[in-house]
């Protein structure tokens, strides 16, 4: 084996690491008789890196030799970094050999723009063609759409891959002008519109379109903290992306200061807590029936640093509580802080066989840590919840969060400390899974 493949892999995986997306879910592509690999609908994580993010795909750039000069990006043209470019064959061989050894679930191929958008796109297509046609590889492939490429190429790539994504990165057109002056908003949004339209058409008319088109859907990524947008603005953008473009996921990536530029903030550490709050809210949008305007508004444009978005919402809407667990329907149960999809389903199943009390809930393995302040069982409050008002509940919730914080860090809190992220903020279970 040639030695320089080591160097290329080092450079091009290092350059790809800032992309948050890593999931291998959403596709159940079947294996062919002589083929290698299949899709797993819920995705499989194969390892976890030192940053706690899951590794499920071989995440690499095809090249990092970019013609653009986006200020936030490590691969911008004016940066003095080592440059490398794979050949389509090298990427395909690496993927197959990693896959056979069960290191990965598939390939996540992204790229800097080399020469021109269409030229780059053609290289990505060549690579996936070798994998799908020559090696009969049926594992997961996630490819980036290159901003500004032509529609024919999107058509071609879409038939080969499971998932496509195009990163918006900056959440407003002002920020885009400021930090990525060579990219136009339409360069990003028009391929996204085109892909989502085609996915819809393909699903509607299975007879006309024999091949699947991007079966695992489309995703995008937003950078958090490089520009001054509020959480409300970002969440509203995500909401409209889900509604208008039918995206599968919006990823949020806490900005890490890698370049120095007068237009960029210099942050001591990436805003991980803010990123986590956005992920929590994102889940609430997609699975819990919340809207962005319910969670945040002009008077509260940013998320609470101590309480998670659902608790925060519940405290501001105490008139909707307490909820009687034996009577509330599924969508109402989901609005209780601390009750997730699994717990809500468990409650619904269990209460068919008689009324539930707090002991029964505990037996079912439902966490009452937060929920106890917001529910009644058979008309009764939890025994230690003797007051039902905002002050009492908020004090207790904040106290709980701070308590768990003390346990994890083993250090005294001082009045002058900035609030630290809570225990569960540190467990970044949301990134990359599901």
């Amino acid at each position: 084996m040639k030695l320089d493949i080591f160097e290329k892999l080092e450079i091009l995986s290092d350059a790809a690491k800032y992309d948050a997306s890593c999931s291998s879910s959403g596709s159940n592509r079947k294996n062919t008789a002589n083929g290698l690999g299949n899709g797993h609908f819920s995705g499989i994580c194969h390892s976890w890196g030192a940053d706690g993010r899951c590794i499920s795909l071989l995440k690499i750039l095809f090249t990092n030799a970019c013609i653009y000069d986006c200020k936030y990006c490590i691969n911008r043209r004016n940066n003095n970094v080592r440059r490398a470019t794979f050949t389509p064959r090298e990427v395909a061989d690496l993927t197959i050999n990693f896959y056979k050894r069960n290191y990965i679930e598939g390939l996540f191929l992204s790229s800097a723009v080399i020469k021109a958008p269409d030229y780059t796109m053609e290289l990505l297509i060549q690579t996936t063609k070798i994998l799908r046609e020559e090696y009969s590889f049926n594992g997961y492939i996630h490819c980036k759409t290159i901003p500004g490429c032509s529609k024919d190429l999107i058509d071609e790539l879409g038939k080969l891959v499971d998932r496509m994504s195009i990163n918006i990165e900056l959440p407003s057109s002002n920020s885009l002008k400021l930090l990525a002056p060579q990219k136009e908003k339409t360069d990003i949004l028009s391929p996204m519109t085109y892909v989502s339209k085609n996915i819809k058409l393909n699903k509607l008319d299975k007879n006309k379109y024999k091949e699947n088109f991007v079966p695992a859907g489309q995703t995008t990524q937003l950078i958090i903290g490089a520009t001054p947008e509020s959480d409300l603005k970002i969440l509203k953008l995500s909401e409209s992306l889900y509604n208008k473009f039918n995206l599968k996921r919006v990823y949020y990536s806490a900005y890490i200061s890698i370049n120095n530029d007068k237009n960029l903030p210099s942050l001591a550490s990436p805003p991980l807590l803010r990123e986590n709050r956005l992920y929590q809210a994102d889940w609430l949008l997609r699975y819990y029936g919340f809207t962005a305007n319910e969670l945040l508004n002009e008077t509260h444009p940013n998320f609470n640093t101590i309480l998670d978005p659902k608790c925060d919402w519940a405290l501001r809407n105490l008139d909707k509580f307490p909820i009687e667990v034996n009577k509330a329907d599924y969508s109402t149960l989901l609005k209780i802080p601390g009750i997730g999809i699994l717990s809500a389903k468990k409650i619904i199943r269990a209460r068919r066989n008689g009324l539930l009390d707090f002991i029964a809930l505990k037996k079912l393995g439902i966490s009452l840590k937060r929920a106890k302040y917001f529910i009644t069982c058979k008309g009764k409050y939890f025994e230690k919840v003797y007051k039902f008002n905002e002050n009492f509940i908020e004090t207790n919730l904040v106290y709980q969060e701070r308590n768990s914080l003390l346990n994890t860090d083993f250090k005294q809190l001082s009045l002058f400390d900035k609030l630290q992220p809570t225990k569960e903020d540190k467990i970044k279970c949301l990134t990359g899974n599901l």
């Binding site: 690491k17 030192a50 050894r101 069960n102 890490i256 199943r349 269990a350 029964a360």
Partner: protein, 252 residues
């Protein structure tokens, strides 16, 4: 099931799924519940126990098997099978109670999760399946020579069969061995059929130079892909408990 007779006996069976289903058949017929059910290879003799040896009867187990699907539901069969694969010490007695009550009331049994043995059986299934899912990701094959792969695992639950089948679907043209070192069982697939055998000191020849190069490439990738500014070893450990580390190629 409330009027069933509790008998002061410890059943000892051969540790197979068929053996357990035989017990279920007999117990349901006689309406008796034993005190304990233990697999013969786990049993430590205790002079207070009133032991009773169960002989596996394939006809009885086949009947029970069919009856679970017909009179309870398919999901109950999966609950039973995966709970059986788990390494819980009291799984047998819980499965017995779960099935016998299930025969009485049908598929409604799966909703009665407030009954402790139903909850336990469903939980054991979830435990076994979640470990199986985790190992689908964490298992690492080493290529010994062209298209023959070998892998070792140390799972808590006996999940060799569902795990092996996953890889058959995925790589039907490959040949592979998955070696469960905790139980000394081997899942062997020769690109046509599979078999699970008790291993007798499998000797693995040293791997090829290509294999070592790919292992090095993987380690390189593993180390470069994480972001230094976001280091969070606690979170990594939570997803990838240390007990699985010894079978990995990478060094977390």
């Amino acid at each position: 099931m409330s009027n069933w007779k509790l008998i002061n006996k410890t059943y000892i069976y051969d540790g197979t799924f068929d053996g357990l289903l035989t017990i279920v058949f007999d117990s349901y017929l006689n309406k008796t519940l034993p005190q304990k059910i233990v697999s013969s290879n786990n049993y430590i003799n205790n002079f207070l126990d009133n032991t009773f040896l169960i002989k596996t009867d394939y006809e009885k187990s086949k009947k029970t098997f069919d009856n679970i699907v017909m009179n309870i539901c398919k999901d109950a069969l999966y609950n039973t099978y995966y709970a059986f694969l788990s390494n819980d010490k009291e799984k047998e007695i819980n499965i017995l109670k779960y099935l016998c009550n299930g025969f009485d009331i049908g598929s409604e049994i799966n909703n009665k999760i407030t009954i402790s043995y139903v909850f336990k059986v469903i939980n054991l299934r979830r435990k076994a399946l979640s470990e199986c899912h985790k190992l689908k990701g964490l298992l690492r094959f080493k290529e010994i020579y062209n298209n023959l792969c070998y892998s070792t695992i140390h799972p808590d639950n006996n999940i060799l069969e569902p795990l092996g089948k996953h890889f058959i679907n995925r790589m039907p043209k490959m040949q592979f061995i998955i070696h469960d070192k905790n139980r000394d069982l081997c899942f062997i697939y020769n690109s046509k059929e599979y078999r699970i055998i008790e291993s007798t000191n499998i000797k693995i020849p040293s791997v090829s130079s290509d294999e070592i190069a790919y292992q090095e490439l993987w380690k390189l990738f593993f180390n470069t892909i994480s972001i230094r500014e976001r280091t969070n070893l606690k979170c990594q450990m939570q997803f990838m408990p240390k007990k699985y580390w010894k079978d990995l190629i990478e060094e977390p």
